[in-house]
Symmetry: C2
Subunit: 361 residues, 2 copies
């Protein structure tokens, strides 16, 4: 609208100070009308762009998604689905944002260990803290599940829910991704942001069903992805209600509550949402049951795997990766006809900052 408003201004401003003739006035009016027309067109284009998968390359993946969304949201379609049932669920790491070289949350836990190290002298003799405090890089840890669980318990518990949220917010604003030297929130996938927007524009409720901890995600996914806290599901640790100086608080305990991975994902969706979704996206074996269960429901459904195939713009990995392993789920996707999205071929742009970087060259 800024562009349209300034054209509009140029059209009617009289810089010479002379009284404009009737004809000039008519010309000005015409120019105003044209400018307004352009303005309206720009607005319409902006609205349309919001609903378009513009960073997806034309091809079968983009077509399959657009066709499905049109079919279930068009009231005259045989496959129309009431808005109440238009639920779309998305895995977190590797589906909505990058997960290499380690999950964001693992890096958060590592940074927390280093920050808390001085007040935990015993950590210098305990695995995995010892290695982390000594090593220069996150790769010292890898992604061994047990180590991550130990770290999460040591760094995510003992605080109130409000204290933990503040710590996550501070980290997310300060930390930089080692490869891109940008905030971690910049590593969301532009095509997935567009897809979320497209779905909301067609009456879908969009959910994250994360393997990761939901309290690590909620502070930033609302701002970054437009997903409000009540539409973010994920793994949890137990909370205890207690009074601190006369004020009730919820304290995070070092006890696992829900683990939303593998068969835990459909169970969590049933528990939190109450029924199966219409659309499910994932990228690893931990998403297999969620996609399988979604596909088994009667009526239309769309299940898709993001396949990390782009070593240049992102990372290429699948069957042998320590992070986000995609093996059995890829076999099932091929055998059962799930949509497999080839990041290299299907995405014209991966991260939101790519276009800006190109333009600045």
């Amino acid at each position: 609208m800024t562009g349209a408003a300034s054209s509009c201004g140029t059209g009617i401003r009289n810089t010479t100070g002379q009284k404009p003739s009737k004809r000039a006035f008519r010309g000005a009016v015409t120019r105003v009308a044209v400018a307004l027309g352009v303005g309206v067109a720009l607005v319409l284009r902006a609205v349309a762009a919001e609903d378009r998968l513009s960073s997806w390359n034309d091809g079968p993946a983009k077509r399959a998604i657009e066709d499905f969304v049109a079919r279930v949201s068009d009231a005259s379609s045989a496959e129309f689905v009431a808005p109440r049932d238009r639920i779309a669920v998305f895995d977190d790491n590797g589906t909505l944002w990058a997960e290499q070289p380690v999950y964001f949350q693992a890096q958060f836990a590592i940074d927390r260990v280093r920050e808390l190290g001085p007040s935990h002298p015993q950590w210098r003799f305990e695995h995995p803290f010892q290695e982390l405090l000594a090593a220069d890089t996150a790769s010292a840890l890898g992604n061994r599940e047990n180590d991550i669980a130990t770290l999460v318990m040591a760094t995510h518990a003992g605080l109130t829910t409000g204290e933990f949220r503040d710590i996550v917010n501070r980290w997310i604003s300060m930390a930089r991704h080692p490869r891109f030297q940008r905030p971690y929130t910049d590593l969301t996938y532009e095509p997935m942001l567009e897809l979320l927007q497209l779905l909301r524009g067609h009456g879908f409720k969009t959910y994250i069903v994360a393997g990761g901890g939901v309290d690590f995600l909620r502070p930033w996914v609302e701002h970054t992805l437009g997903i409000p806290p009540e539409q973010a599901l994920g793994s949890t640790i137990r909370l205890r209600y207690e009074m601190r100086r006369g004020t009730p608080v919820l304290v995070r305990l070092a006890q696992i509550d829900e683990i939303e991975d593998g068969p835990g994902k459909p169970a969590a969706i049933q528990k939190h949402i109450g029924h199966a979704p219409l659309i499910a996206f994932g990228n690893s074996d931990g998403d297999r049951e969620m996609l399988e269960w979604t596909k088994a429901q009667p009526g239309p459904h769309l299940v898709a795997l993001i396949h990390h195939t782009d070593a240049v713009r992102e990372w290429a990995y699948d069957r042998r990766s320590r992070v986000g392993r995609l093996d059995a789920a890829l076999d099932e996707a091929i055998a059962d006809g799930w949509l497999v999205i080839d990041m290299k071929a299907d995405w014209g742009q991966v991260f939101p900052f790519e276009r800006a970087t190109e333009l600045n060259r």
Copy 2:
């Protein structure tokens, strides 16, 4: 609109078959216009009525609610709250619907025991099944928590989520409340239905945070109270993902997962919704922590207890009741200035069917 449409029809129908004069035509037009005006007025009144607490008596409780809702939803108010944070939570039994002589879900479990009795011969020798199978009425059981837990496990587990939903739906359509001889869904409180409607009309998301089992509620609260499954929280039992004849299902296990009562309620709200609500309603000691926690948040909030004081239209009970005991929470409400709603004084109508019954006399 039916009334308006038929007035409209009367105005223009020419029953004599004669060609109407110009004057008669003008008269007809006038009548059409009047009828349309009446129609519009009726529609406007219907819209306004939806947003009004018409079965609440004028008094401090009604005023406190209306004032609060106006203050937080008016953009020019100093206490304006963004729509994202307009979350209202409601306890289930005794807050949104009646809970006497036993919780609906306890009666459902009792009826299930009687239905399943023939295929469980050992129940004839086991407490509490033995007493239930022998006794004529539900009062043989009472509401002893252990007995209810035993019953729930025996009758709510072992089925898939879909099978259980179908059984609940069948019960809710067949069962009749012993005092009113009406479906249990008729025993929702008219003033609370109006309040839910008022809140939604002001941009609130309305949630149930039930002590009872969420899978017993979800099949009917959407239709009866307009609360979709993802906005119903409650106690849960664990689910196991498994394949049955090649189809993935979720099977209900005889293991408690979450118990949403007392301090479990604020913990569940934090876990499922991600932050404290703006409004919380309850009626028993099991709601105390939920209300206390809501009230402790910074900014505006409204916390209220429904006090069962009407032995004629409903039931009168509080500190010594086996069902829905209200004792410590009532003390705290009085000491801390929570809104206490006196059902007898504050509600002009309790159940939706009362008005229809009066009109039929």
